[in-house]
Symmetry: D2
Subunit: 353 residues, 4 copies
């Protein structure tokens, strides 16, 4: 066995390629042994570009391979839970893109497999590895702003994903707001006790037809009395917008940055700055850092920083957000025994305008 973990990447789509490039630059921390994609050509291209010795379309074989110590699961969402179970059964440490699954039952089955096997599972909530969010969390923990009283967490994509993505996404809450649910509970250090959702389908006909929403504000209450609002939109019109403001009894912390290129243009029209367009730009370093954290945990034989329980918790909150939208009332959240009714058509009850 090698001194550093032998790592295989499953899934060579956009996010998989990102992880692949990061892994390729960490050869002191891992042996990047293999890539898999159901599309063999995609796997072979990635392997060639990044000097990875093995490429395959047989993802499940790779998950079971004795030549691999850890797997990075970046395949389509509907495969995550199954791949986690296979990898766990074969004793691999696992990094998986979020979400573990779109429903709580599948999530819990995957977590059981992980627990039974005693392997590590890290979930890809990359915000937790952004220098701004880390500084915010540390500031909170060190009492820099006193008691946290309110959080505002906003997330907007520049433009909506294609219809086929929307249909399989699990909806706005499990696909997109799940990042906010994770970061808010991580920053607060406690789970919400109540949630209320106000949302609309304004952005595209596709989203409305998929019974999904695209413009949403979720408010939450925490045991401490602190409250939070989460804003989501599938289209900003101007670029990727992720900003979090944390208000405490003695001050505030604001995380976010929109400027992309270090230039300002002064003319009689005013002063123009550019704007980051997408999450790949905003969280480029965070994606690298989360992989470093995962590999470090493997090398040092310690716990990974974002657990499967964190993945499940964010999904429980997403369910409650959908339930509030469906039932048009505030919903008390039971993190242990959540309401498990899935909103297949959670936009059906939207008020018609």
């Amino acid at each position: 066995m090698s001194a550093v973990p032998r790592v295989a990447l499953i899934g060579c789509g956009r996010i998989g390629q990102l992880h692949a490039r990061n892994l390729a630059a960490m050869r002191d921390m891992c042996e990047f042994a293999a890539v898999a994609d159901w599309n063999l050509e995609a796997a072979e291209t990635a392997a060639r570009l990044l000097d990875v010795p093995h490429a395959t379309s047989a993802s499940e074989d790779l998950l079971a391979s004795p030549d691999v110590d850890a797997v990075i699961i970046a395949s389509s969402t509907d495969t995550h839970a199954r791949f986690i179970e296979i990898a766990a059964r074969h004793g691999k440490d696992i990094f998986t893109e979020k979400p573990i699954a779109l429903d709580i039952e599948a999530t819990e089955r995957a977590l059981e497999a992980v627990a039974d096997a005693g392997v590590r599972l890290q979930v890809g909530f990359q915000r937790r590895f952004d220098s701004g969010y880390i500084a915010a969390r540390e500031g909170i923990e060190q009492g820099e702003i006193g008691n946290v009283e309110m959080i505002r967490d906003a997330m907007r994509d520049p433009s909506p994903p294609p219809p086929e993505y929307i249909r399989q996404s699990g909806g706005l809450y499990r696909d997109m707001a799940i990042h906010n649910f994770d970061s808010v509970r991580w920053l607060m250090g406690e789970d919400p006790v109540e949630i209320y959702t106000t949302a609309s389908a304004l952005v595209s006909e596709d989203i409305r037809e998929a019974h999904d929403v695209d413009t949403s504000i979720v408010t939450m209450r925490f045991p401490s009395g602190a409250i939070a609002s989460i804003e989501n939109s599938r289209r900003s019109g101007f670029g990727y917008d992720v900003r979090t403001e944390i208000f405490g009894s003695t001050g505030a912390l604001m995380v976010g940055e929109y400027r992309y290129t270090p230039i300002r243009r002064f003319s009689s029209a005013g002063v123009l700055e550019d704007h980051q367009y997408f999450f790949l730009e905003r969280f480029r370093d965070a994606y690298r850092n989360e992989m470093v954290s995962f590999l470090t945990a493997l090398i040092n034989d310690t716990d990974v920083p974002v657990s499967g329980a964190d993945g499940r918790a964010a999904l429980v909150i997403a369910y409650a957000a959908e339930q509030s939208l469906r039932e048009h009332r505030p919903i008390a959240i039971d993190m242990k025994e959540p309401d498990r009714a899935r909103s297949e058509h959670h936009a059906d009850s939207l008020p018609t305008s």
Copy 2:
């Protein structure tokens, strides 16, 4: 009768003194004829400092005086409606600080008196005269950001007012959030149809004892499907914080400014800027501009820009926000026939932490 309106100011407290200084610098637009305050000394001091010929403690006499064409009501909130009625009966044009009254009935009685007398009534929502908010409104109207889909409107005071103020304030919604209710409906160009309130009393024991809240998020839905969140806090810990973000289908407008003094300090600790401390700093120009608008309407014999109906509408929304908090559910808003139940003790139903 003079060529410009003869103006009397009622109330020489903090906000009254601000209006007084502004009026004193507009001698080309008005004859600043008199000041009144129940505390005669306060009135006389203001008159002496600003070269106003007449000072009195008899506010009601002044409201009825034939030597006055228009009155600026900046006395305590509980006197507004009564003073409006007196002034209207005597044919004066009226500028009043917000709110007209703390309950809808008194508000409507005052508006009836104004309508019966055919005088003008302008309500002191000063944000509408801030260059940033004006630019935002114009940008929306000109389609600069397409259809408005979401608004986030935040307002935080640096520190809570004294207990006696809290007790007479009418509570967070009628006293403070009423500014947000006005600005959101003004920016949207439509009234909300539904509202939901999440709030806590975290800042001070005084506020909790007054059955009030101090930390609040209100979400709203509009007929167009657009949604809004309004954040309020009685204490920011860092200064006055008023920021509004308007998200449209093709872009966004963000109003707000925190920097106070044009200096940045660079050290090994980082880069430090200062912050505006209070609303008097942030809205200094807006307060002047609203007075210019009022006087201009009088001189040109046109309508005033913020009507009594606007004052009533913001109060109706405040009632609904309180009802939502009390009944712990989303409330449909009927602007014409609102629920008139007053929340004397609207924090009673707060979840205990």
Copy 3:
């Protein structure tokens, strides 16, 4: 005699009107007794708008009037020195717009008259009353940035003044850079010992024909070894640009602000902010504050904060800047016995491009 000084304003042009409006709002600190302008109509208009009892075209009579305690000289530059002498002879305290005069001899004669009469003379270097510059000066004095090692002081007008102004202005250094010369020596707390000028006439044919320059960098050396650069342009193309950066051994202070209205516009083109257009916007408060300082010194019988000696010192530096340009070499500055050769045609020796 009144309890507060009786003040007369001489000159009702742009800057005179600004001072007039400020004085009119300070009736607790002065009796605004009279205005004068060679154009009687201008004086009468100002008096009517601001409720000033007396207007005249006889400026010199007003400077000598027994009914006036102090005068504000905001007439054309070529009258400053003469008016100062008259006012001083009649025992008036004097506030004068900069510069005292365009040549050192006339400046020194005016200062002698002031000294002989024992009256106060304050020169209108308004930057010294800007909150940013005040904070910078205080930061330096308190050792916030250690020893000052370098200053960069930039000043750009949005567009060049009309040809007739250029011809009578005294040239870029005595008319415009004189503000920088004052602020740099004030911030440094010492006078420069050497100066070198690099400049061009690029902006307009008028400026070139007036043998003036419009684009200039002046570098200076101070006794402490600290160095400074001063940038000037008669046209920025984007608005008024005044920024000063002070670099010390342990940090830096940067004074300046370009944003005018508190709104930011986000679109796919980027993020657009507006920009202040002119010095009246940037230094609105500073102009008011300098008048408050002047009146306060009169009321409290103390020294005024910007002396005639300061006015002379900035002019001496301007002479040296011109000499460097003319002689194309660094010039040692003797503040006490400066080279008094006037550059009537100081752009003659410019390298032709």
Copy 4:
């Protein structure tokens, strides 16, 4: 021969390691074949971490090796010119860190060797590959700001280098300001015709003892009449400070960014942002981009973007800056036949404070 160039890195110090990490992540553009360092251990460590097959302390052998197509020279400055000559003689394409050499003669000999061999030589002026500087250059070329009239280019290191570095650095102008000389002439699109230097040794006794300066303003004139100022300091006290402002007839472009982490801290003390500490942070992407450009030129058989002539030109300007300091007068620059007198002790003639 491989399809992509086989590259060797010479020098595994700080900047060499940076290039090594970048090369290791570009395995689709090069075969990273070997590393050399006089310290064999340093070379072997780099090779192991980055999966490079060959490590050696015999740099000159590697420069001549038939198994290498191109070399990256990141060894100490005094070796650059000699290594370039060896590599050129053996037909290698060359990327070298700046400067080519500390004197013009050695520089010209190296350029002759390159020309004789017909190989490529790219000089490591990384600013030209920063997105902000690229945008500025493009804006100028596209006439976005009209005619360029003034440039201000500032560069400050957080703290001075160690004494041994200072002694071998070639002095402030050849070591540090050379970046500014390159970027200003690149942005202007023309070479300066005259230069004047004002400088001091204020930062450390070491620098003064090395007859060097540490605090400098250089002004320049260009054939178009445009003027420029260049500010340098060996110590900012707050972090790395590189900012460039370009003023044109219709607007301005400002390049620079100080914020490092996307967080702002609001407290009663004000608003605190952090600051980039060093050039490795500020120009991380630029260093990667310049390597991509070099490899792309090799792969596509095109010219490299920053030539040896550019390296020589910046050095000629540095000589003139030193001459101005030494002779205390403005110096006309002849780019073709420069004054070649080296300032071994260029701070000797500094005014004593």
